[in-house]
Amino acid sequence: MKIYVPLDSAAVALGADDVAAAITSYAAKAGISVEIVRNGSRGMVWLEPLVEIEDAQGRRAFGPLSPADVPALLEGTLKSLGRVEDIAFFARQTRLTFARCGLIDPLDLTSYAAHGGLGGLKRALSMTAQQTVEEVTASGLRGRGGAGFPTGLKWETVRSAQASQKYIVCNADEGDSGTFADRMLMEGDPFSLIEGMVIAGLAVGATRGYVYLRSEYPVAIRVMRAAVDIARENALLGEDILGTGTAFDVDIRVGAGAYVCGEETALLNSLEGKRGTVRAKPPLPALHGFMGQPTVVNNVISLATIPVIFEHGAAHYAAFGIGRSKGTVTLQLAGNVKYGGLFEAGFGMTLGDVVTDIGGGTATGKPVKAVQVGGPLGAFMRPDKFETPIGYEEFDNAGGLIGHAGLTVFDDSADMGALAQFAMEFCAIESCGKCTPCRIGSTRGVETIARIRNGDHAAIPLLEDLCDTMRDGSLCALGGFTPYPVLSALNGWPQDFGVTTAEVTQ
């Protein structure tokens, strides 16, 4: 029988390697013939390690599994969760970007192709560069890395630039707390990212690509490197892509533990071997990027969504979503949440649906106090904002941002004063140092919040002024957006700072 045991970091973090070892050794002892496939995760982290057995009856899931469950699993006496596709959390999703993640062996190119892989690339190979860019524009895809910039527009800028060398750079720095979609995708379906990068190369006329992958993701680094080797051996990368005479190749580069290197210009500096400081824009990276050449910088999820857009057509993709937020969003339910994991669905569900219905509320069973959406630079939202639909403009109007679509849930034991202080501390630790409001302001911010929390209410207007200065005087969103978590915490939960609503002027 075939047994799927995820190699995904979250599954491994919860004991998947031990389960795999236990299966091998028990099977050997009991004389049961098993084939273990290390797949990606199906995204239901509370059920990890989630193991699936495939036999004549189809594919049945078991989890969360510990090595002690292995004898019952192999003897057929363990109670199954049924088919993954029938588990409510999974059944409610629209899986486009993550269609194959957890389903296939991530390094089996044949299985990748059998599940729709390479279909998008083959179609793109039959199109002109301009048509390829137009297809992306028609899909309505907006960058999933944070800013939501239209991907087609970015590609068109690079396509129409004249240069001897252009580049595709994949931003796989995923530094935001509460996010793990990039990691899951790279570990579970690396070829979709590679295929997306090849299509991007065809579209803009780039022959070289880099994946800038954070060092905190050792499993993703290993899987991506192996996938690139396999892709080269099978002409998915190299001088002669699928026998068409077109060239494109990819290298995996590892970051070095600096959050700010997720910002695209800092990332390019880092890739060039420099300090990861932010560059002033303009010039745009699209025109003056890696090595001064026109460069597409896109997030992992943006690029990995490209193949499915080409496979089913732009109109199919654009039919999902609401308003100007087209297609699917790969939500990540994180923190103190009962059902944590990856949930892909069309834009438009409300925040409350996601946190309460899908996520099941908090893991501790206590009331939800706050949800931080969009990572450390995103606002803390109160349950009275739960009606907000998940969409770029909709969140903007509610004073929040979607960012990379991570949702971190806090129960009523959270201290919003401490979290605000942490937001400033994080900015101080990770600042690239280029602008004074960010470099110095964040340290002053830590001190000022500490003063307020110690009862000095006169420091409130100081903090508000400081946040204004950081917002207006910072070159990038690290300094510029840190005021969002800080002020949303202060305004939303003044009692956690020991002050009354009336004392908070904004």
């Binding site: 970091s9 491994v12 996010t179 990039d182 070095a256 600096a258 880092s270 990861g276 450390p376 971190t408």
Partner: protein, 153 residues
């Protein structure tokens, strides 16, 4: 590192492996971390000559990134996540308990030089926090006890 140091050869090999790629410095520094456990200032002249950059530039890069260390870590390294999602499930308390258990007052290396505890900000394990990397092994729902046991403390 002196000219007679046996690692000199290793360094030349590491440099040769990457020098023709675009932006070779970070890949070389990563390989040096792996081979030597830290980055010795004594290597800057050789590196600088090979890549056509100054000592100051190398120092600037090494000091910018959290991953590059100028002194070796302990025998085991625990990277403990301090970021928001892990805080929401008690990472701050886990951190204090781990410090108590190892006799640390802050992030750093234990007095016996065996174990280094570093702060990290998210490991992508935010739905199963508190999270850590023990050497390079991802660990979820950790406690001070589970971490200490794993590194034999």
């Amino acid at each position: 590192m002196s000219a007679t140091d046996p690692t000199d050869d290793t360094l030349s090999r590491l440099i040769a492996r990457h020098r023709d790629c675009e932006g070779p410095l970070l890949p070389i520094l990563h390989d040096m971390m792996e081979a030597f456990g830290h980055i010795d200032e004594g290597t800057y002249p050789q590196l600088g000559r090979a890549l056509g950059i100054t000592r100051a530039e190398i120092h600037g890069v090494v000091s910018f990134y959290h991953d590059f260390k100028t002194r070796p870590n302990g025998h085991h390294t625990i990277k403990l996540c301090r970021a928001e999602a892990c805080q929401s499930v008690g990472a701050t308390e886990t951190q204090s308990a781990l410090f108590d258990r190892l006799g640390l007052t802050d992030f750093g290396t234990t007095p016996d030089g065996r174990i280094t505890v570093e702060a990290v900000y998210c490991l992508g394990l935010c739905a199963c926090g508190p999270a850590a990397l023990v050497d390079t092994q991802p660990r979820g729902r950790v406690s001070a006890q589970s971490l200490a046991t794993e590194v034999g403390a």
